[in-house]
Structures are given as C-alpha cells and as structure tokens.
Amino acid sequence: MIEIQGLTKRYASVVAVDDLNLSVDTGEVFGFVGPNGAGKTTTIRMMMGLIEPTAGSIRLGGHDLASEARAAKALCGFVPDRPHIYEKLTGAEFLEFVAGLYGVPPAAARERRTELLSMFDLTEWQNELVETYSHGMKQRTVMAAALIHAPRLLVLDEPLVGMDPRGARLLKATLRQLADSGATVFVSTHSLGLVEELCDRIGIIVRGKLQALGTLEELRDAAGSRNGAQLEEVFLKLTAPVERHSLGE
C-alpha cells in the first residue's frame, strides 16, 4: 500500500528526512515512532502531498504521488497533528464538505456522516460551529472526516493528543476494526502503549533516518532486550546511540 524510496527533505543545511526507504503492506497497522524532531511529521506531510520532497518517491496504493496525486490521495484519510478545521463551519457541514471533496455521493455521505457523528459522540454538537469545540472534539471531528470516504489507507499524526480516555479507547477500536476490514493504518505517535497494543510492525526514525524496522519481537532482538520487554525500553535502547552521537558524546 505504501512504497517510499529514497525519500529526502532538506531545509537549507538541515536534513529533516534522509534517504528513507519503507514499505507498508495492505491491511497492516504500522507504527512510526521517533524522538522529537526526528522527521516523523515531515515524512507524513510528504506522504500526504503537503510538502514536496527534495528527492525520492512515494507510491500509495500503486499510484505515484508526484504524477498521480489525485488518485493516490483519493485512497487516503488523514489526521494531522494539529486539528485545524474551518472554525466557521459546523461539525456536520465540515463532514459534508470533506465527503464532497472525496466525491462521496450525497445520500451515502449523509448516511455515513450520521454514523460517524454518533460513533465519535458528536451528534449533539453537529450543528454548532467548530470554534465552540474543545481540542478533543476537534480531534474527533477530524477523525470522523478522515473516515467519511471509507479510505483504504489511514494516516494519523499524533492522534491521541488532546483525547480523553474514552476517545482514546474509541480510536484504538476504530483503527483495529479498520485494519481487520483490510485497510492500512500508518500511525505516528509518542504514545508507545498505542503502538505496542495495535501495530503489526514498527519503524523507528532518528534524525531523519530509519533506525530500526520490524515487529516488536524483531526490535527487541535488535536492541538486545529481554523477551517481553516493553517498547519504551526497546525504543530508548535503539535511539540512544544516535542521540548521544548527535550530541557529540
């Protein structure tokens, strides 16, 4: 579903993402983790066509993002790290708008909208302007919008920020359900518990480079951690050398 080759992004003298190669299969839940400033959000924004790579290519569902952007994007749902949505639209109108952009027929869009608003506990607020929503409600609205066209690939950047425990549980259940139905989920987060619980494979990015890739078991082996070690311990072991090196130690 996702094929990334030689992906690089440079900002003047800073290399935010450095020759990244990665592939994620259909139906897989992939966790993308790394320290702050590692290049996670930059990678995701390049995957969603929000910023242009300096080099490399991205294929989503077999479509090259550079030459077949619309076809590639039509497959995806996206939840950004900051849930900026039009403050002067109501939640229901925002979902209607996104459904329209993705070409969902009006009747199907209405049905899906009702279902998602109810699923994310937003029915009561659907006719209120988004400017009155809390951060968590905006996050849930963005999540609902990302699902309105039943995407084959869902890309999430820090989806748990601002969500209450109920919302977080709902999100986990939704992601699992999506993956079970054959959709691919690519999630970037600092919440290692979520990754441990949900993800089939995990990629660890440090200073723009993919430091480790594999299942939790494979990562434990790579880190030399004992069986049953938590992802947090594995993560710290795998990222520490690079972080120390970058600090000149």
Binding site: R45, L50, P80, K88, T90, V98
Partner: protein
C-alpha cells in the same frame, strides 16, 4: 537540573522582567527582524524591489500633493487658506480612517489574537499588558497612514520653502496624532465587547459598521467638499473664503494638528509649539484614560469574547437555497469550495461587517459626484465633466484594488492553517484558486460597475465615456483579483488569524503598488484616445483614419495588458499555490 532553584531565580528577577514592556513586543520585533534579515540574506532583489516600489509610491504621493499646493499657492490672496484647508481635510480623513481601523485592530490585538492565552496567563501587570497591546494596535493601524503622511508633509514643506523646524514639527506631530484615535478605538472596543454578550458579536459589529458609516457621512458633511467648487452659492466670494478660513472646531485634535503644521509654516513657532503641547497632552491623557478603562473592563470582555455563538442566518433553508442556486453552474468540487468560502465569510463578523463599511464608502463616493455642479453656471464644462469621468475611471480601479487588498489578497493566507484539508485530498490545487477567484470577482465586478455607472450618470458624460469606463473596469477587475491572489500566494502569512493583519503586511503594500502601476498604465494607454475623441467632438471635426487606427491600437493595448496581467497572475498564483508547503 534543580527545577526549584531555577523557578526561584526567575522569581527574583520578576520585577525586572515583568516591568519591561519590551518583552511583550519582543515576538513582533523578532519576527520583523527575522523577516528583514531573511530578505537581506536570501532576497536582496526582492528587498530592492520593495524599496523601489515604496520609493515610487512616495514620489507619487509627493508629486500629487506638491502639484496641488503649487496650484493653490498660485493665488496669492487665498492660496495659504486653501493649503490650510487641504491640510485640515487630510487630518480629518486620517483621523476618521484611524478611528475605525483602530476599533477593528483592537478587537484582534486585545480580544481575538492567538497568543492572548499565554500572555494573559503570565504574571504581566495589567498596565504593561495594556501598553504592549496598545503599541501593537497603533503600529498595525497607523503605518499605512504614516506612509501617506510622510511624502505629503514633505510636499507641504517644500511647497512652502519651509525651514528644518517644520520637518521636525511634522515628525513630532504624527505620534500624538495617531495615539488619540487609537485610544478612542481601543476604549470603544473594550466597552462594546463588555456591553454586548459575545453571542451577539455580530450585532456589535453591525453597530460598529453603522457608527463608521455615520462617521464617514459626518466627515463628509463637515468637509463640505462641494463648497470648493461652489463659491457662487455663497453670498459673496469673501464670505466663501471666510467660510473656508474658519477651522472646523478648536476642540478637535485634527484642528490642533493642522494648526501645529500651519503655524510652523507661517513662522509662528511659539503658537505651533502651543498646539503641539495641546495635542500631545491630550494624547497622553487619552492613553491613560483608555488604560484605566481597558484594564478595568478587560477580563470580563476577554472572557465573553471566548464564548462561541450559533450560525443562525447561514443555516436557514433560504440561505441554503440561495447558495445552491448561485453555485449551480460550477463543477462539484469548485462548488463545494465556493459554498465553504461563503459560509465562512458570512459567519466571520470581522469579515462581512466590513461590507457594510464598504457600502458606506460607495455611497459617499457616489455622493461626491452628485454634488459636483454640472449645470449651467457651474464651474464645469463639457470638457471638465468628461475629464473627471476619465480620472474617475482610475479612482474606481483604485477603490476595487483597495477592497481587494482587504478581501482578496489575505484569502490565501487565511486558508493557510486549513490548507491540509484540500491538499491532502484528491483536489486539484487550481480549483482552490478558481474558487477564490470567482467568489471575489463577481462582487468586485458589481462594485466597479456601480461606481462607473452611478458616477457617470451624475456627471452626465458622453455615452462613449460611460461605455469606456464600464468596459475598462470590467477588463481590469479579473487582473486585479488574480494579481491579489498571486501576491497573496507569493507572500503568504499561513498562520495568520486576521485578514486586516495580512492586508497591512508588506505583501499588501506590494499588491497595492502593483495595482497602482497596472491602473496607471491602463489610464495612460487610454488617455490619448480619449483626448483625441473629445477634441474631435469639441471642434466637431471627423476623426481621420490614422487617428482611428491609433485609438484602436491604444485601446487594444489596454485590453491586451489586462489579459496579460490576468493570465500571468493566474499562472503565477496557481504555481505558487502548488509550491506552498503547508
């Protein structure tokens, strides 16, 4: 790290840091400095271009004011009275614009800005907070006026062959002059935000718009511009002059500011200093009174301003039907984007309320032409009427540009933080551009045609002049809109939260200057054909074939230029929009 220790260190320094107004202004100053240093390092040509455009603009204002003053001073008996009157009019117009723009700016800087959460939560003393925001408000609302004022006052000095003391006096007059309307604007905003529940913000802004309307109308009536052209309606010429010589009111800051400069030009430095002291002490008093009022009312007003409200009108079926109807010819995605634009625009009180102000300005604009005497015995003639109509063409173009700098140029920036929605979806970026283009084009075309048709009706010009005005405005408006979107995508402020802030940025100035250049070239290209046509009409001689050819070439070039500006701007705008990293 010992966290307790660092907190204690900060506490001991608290009196030093919180007392410093400069920290509140620090983010703005740094942002400005970074922008300048970035331009200096990476865009010297761009910087040189901006400097050249600013210089050209200043020279233009200087030339216009200097020519007018030189003409007035050509009448030794009453030239000085006319230049004083003009000075007074300039100050009255500046004051009215500043009073309204300060209300709009203060709403943003004091009550709606994104950084208020952090600043209000910080241990900043109320008066320091007030002056920090007040200085920001003054800068944001006044810098464009100062850009006009500097070359205008320079022209005054040179036309009157004034000594260096005049320039010093002029430079010292502007700061207290801009502080007074700022204090009035901020105080008015603080009262309105408190008096009206935030859920009725819309009504508050309607009131503001009506106040602005009344203010503009009042200014117009106070100035009585028609008197300048109607001396014969006064009992005698002496009475007319006497009327001109009477200052509006000795209690108005505009009169004091005019007196400061006027007396300095006349060599009465002591009187000039007296009026400056009156102006400055009033400004200081107003600032202090505004501080007392605002700090007292602030917390309750800010609390109310954070409450949300319902979108009533734009959720009604009649509105939905209207929007569906007018967007029916558009493609599905463009239609969605246009509907979104309409909804967000008409639910944003800081945006739509300015339409009411715009309506007021149009009424005043047309009214000006209504009061110009055109009958028998007036100062105007057939030639004069049509010359005015020709210059009105340029003015109407500038009015469209002025509206576009407030509504069209910021539209890309205002989309910035939401652009991920369309950019991550299967939407061609050009559709976003076209949706913004269409939504701006239609009202601006209507505005242009109203300005052209109504004013030409009152001027009673030749049908040819009327047609020329309408067609020219119709031809240049797409170019002006596309240019606004192109400059908006070239100099974006993607995190911006207010259109007025974006409009007041350097990009807004570049856009205005480009518009002036574009309209200027169009007017130059049309000047000769219009002149030739009128001369032949006036002397009732037939137009030769070569003259016809020349007219066609000139008018054709104007049309071609309009098309080129539109096409180049549209291409640049779409390309820049594609390249924007969001």
């Amino acid at each position: 790290m010992n966290l307790r220790r660092s907190v204690d260190d900060r506490a001991t320094d608290e009196s030093r840091t919180t007392g410093a107004l400069r920290w509140l202004l620090y983010p703005r100053r740094r942002a400005f400095a970074y922008r300048l240093s970035d331009l200096w390092k990476n865009g010297r040509w761009q910087l040189a271009g901006i400097a050249t455009l600013v210089a050209l603009f200043s020279v233009g204002v200087f030339y216009l004011v200097h020519r007018t003053l030189a003409y007035f001073l050509g009448f030794p008996e009453f030239g000085s009275i006319l230049t004083y009157k003009l000075l007074n009019m300039i100050f009255v117009v500046f004051f009215s614009i500043l009073a309204f723009s300060n209300v709009v700016t203060a709403l943003s800087t004091f009550y709606l800005s994104d950084d208020l959460d952090r600043i209000v939560a910080a241990p900043v003393p109320a008066h320091i907070f007030f002056y920090g925001r007040f200085v920001e408000t003054v800068f944001e609302s006044s810098w464009m006026i100062i850009m006009f004022a500097v070359p205008a006052f320079l022209a005054y000095g040179i036309a009157h062959t004034a000594g260096p003391d005049f320039y010093l006096v002029a430079a010292l007059t502007l700061p207290p002059f801009v502080v007074i309307p700022a204090a009035i604007g901020v105080a008015l905003t603080s009262i309105l935000v408190n008096v009206f529940p935030a859920r009725r913000t819309r009504e508050v802004l309607v009131l503001l718009a009506i106040v602005a309307f009344a203010l503009v109308y009042l200014v117009l009536r106070l100035l009585q511009p028609e008197r300048l052209l109607h001396p014969e309606t006064s009992a005698s010429f002496a009475h007319f002059l006497n009327g001109l010589d009477t200052p509006s009111s000795m209690l108005l800051p505009t009169t004091w500011a005019s007196e400061v400069l006027h007396r300095s030009l006349q060599g009465s430095l002591r009187t000039s200093v007296f009026y400056w002291l009156v102006l400055t002490s009033t400004a200081a008093a107003f600032a202090v009174l505004c501080e007392l009022l605002t700090t007292r009312l602030y917390l309750s007003g800010w609390t109310k301003s954070q409450e949300g409200r319902k979108a009533r009108f734009t959720q009604r079926p009649i509105w939905e039907r209207f929007v569906t109807l007018i967007t029916a010819p558009l493609g599905a995605q463009t239609r969605l984007l246009v509907i979104k634009e309409l909804r967000t625009f008409f639910r944003d009180t800081s945006q739509w309320s300015q339409l009411v102000l715009l309506l007021a300005l149009v009424v005043v604009y047309v009214y000006n032409f209504r009061v110009i005497p055109i009958g028998e015995g007036g100062l105007t003639t057939f030639y004069f009427r049509n010359v005015i109509a020709f210059f009105n063409l340029a003015l109407a173009g500038l009015v469209i540009a002025a509206v576009a700098v407030r509504f069209v140029y910021p539209s890309i920036s205002l989309e910035g933080r939401y652009m991920w929605i369309t950019r991550s979806g299967p939407v061609d970026v050009s559709r976003v551009w076209w949706s913004k283009f269409w939504i701006a084009l239609l009202p601006l075309v209507v505005l242009g045609q109203i300005l052209a048709l109504a004013t030409n009706y009152y001027l009673d010009v030749l049908p040819m002049m009327s047609w020329l005005s309408s067609v020219t405005l119709l031809a240049i408006t797409p170019g002006l809109v596309a240019l606004g979107l192109a400059v908006g995508a070239t100099y974006p402020h993607l995190g911006a939260d207010s259109a007025s802030k974006v409009a007041a940025s350097a990009g807004g100035l570049i856009y205005m200057i480009l518009c002036v250049a574009f309209i200027g070239v169009i007017v130059c290209l049309e000047a000769w054909p219009v002149y030739t046509f009128f001369m032949h009409r006036l002397y009732e001689t037939p137009i030769s074939t070569s003259a016809r050819l020349g007219i066609a070439t000139s008018l054709g070039s104007a049309l071609a230029l309009s098309v080129v500006v539109f096409v180049v701007s549209a291409r640049t705008g779409i390309r820049r929009l594609y390249a924007l990293e969001v």
